[in-house]
């Protein structure tokens, strides 16, 4: 008779869990290494950053002069003025800024949820059949002096047993990969020193 308990016990759960955990650990290391490489790329990529552009507006009154015509005057002969404006632009000196400083962070990933699912189907069938065939044949004959008789019998017994047993199994493994904030130990710290007040240092980390 099939022993379902024994079949389930034969499933190598421990090995499956170990293999999956081991694969996840290896993948996590590879992902972290790739993200660290990315930190290096971002920290070494600079672009010229223009911190600010100052636009200074100054009044610039002027007399209206339609195209191809003399300057306009009112009925008293006073010039018709409009409040013009002059825009002076002052672009600050650009300085190199890394992508990391600018705010581009590498994405770190972590395996958050892993599932191992094992499905097993055990089928057992047993079929028995017996057949018994018994026959008796009696013949007798008699005449004036003799008499004879015979008895024949047969017994046919057939027994058959069919037994089938099958176990089918399937397993599936799934895991979820989610982006997570950069681990603090993997990200550089930024020290902002204000030259006007060197005692005041601001430390920040992504």
């Amino acid at each position: 008779m099939p022993n379902v308990g024994a079949e389930l016990a034969s499933v190598p759960f421990g090995k499956m869990i170990y293999d999956m955990a081991s694969a996840i650990a290896r993948s996590q290391i590879a992902l972290d290494k790739a993200s660290i490489e990315l930190v290096k790329v971002l920290a070494n990529t600079t672009f010229d950053y223009v911190p600010d552009v100052v636009e200074v507006l100054t009044p610039n009154p002027r007399q209206i002069q339609p195209k191809g015509k003399p300057p306009m005057v009112d009925k008293d002969g006073n010039p018709v003025m409009v409040t013009g404006v002059q825009v002076d632009t002052d672009v600050a000196k650009p300085f190199p800024l890394t992508l990391l400083q600018a705010g581009v962070n590498p994405t770190f990933y972590a395996f958050t949820n892993s599932t191992i699912e094992v499905k097993m189907s055990i089928t057992s069938t047993q079929e028995s059949s017996n057949s018994l065939d018994v026959g008796v044949q009696v013949t007798a004959s008699a005449d004036f002096l003799f008499a004879s008789g015979s008895v024949t019998s047969h017994v046919n017994f057939t027994a058959s047993n069919k037994y089938s047993y099958s176990v089918t199994g399937s397993s599936s493994m799934s895991t979820t990969l989610a982006p997570v904030p950069p681990p603090k130990n993997m990200m550089p710290r930024f020290f902002l020193v204000n030259a006007m007040d060197p005692a005041k240092i601001t430390i920040s980390q992504s």
Partner: protein
């Protein structure tokens, strides 16, 4: 199928031709160029397409990046990304 922001780093030193080739490859795989820098391009790319772009001979690595809103120039970068995106997106009107 999700679109993420990636940096596609160039192999070797920067050249206009390498940059153009990589950008062309990104566009062929349905990506959008957000910003071009000397070491690579920042792109918006579908997750499934990232490994294909990584196979390009001029690409050193493709890695996911995020924009840290506390970054020194995060807002400026966001504007640059949006401006570059608008030049590549086709809006169909019916």
């Amino acid at each position: 199928m999700a679109t993420q922001m990636y940096i596609v780093a160039f192999k070797g030193t920067f050249s206009q031709e390498v940059s153009r080739n990589v950008q062309h490859c990104v566009r062929q795989h349905g990506g959008l160029i957000l910003m071009v820098v000397r070491t690579g391009v920042i792109v918006a790319l579908d997750d499934s397409q990232a490994p294909m772009v990584e196979k390009h001979p001029d690409v050193a690595l493709v890695g996911g990046v995020t924009l840290n809103p506390r970054g020194y120039a995060a807002e400026r970068l966001q504007r640059i990304f949006a401006e570059n995106l608008s030049k590549q997106l086709e809006i169909k009107t019916e």
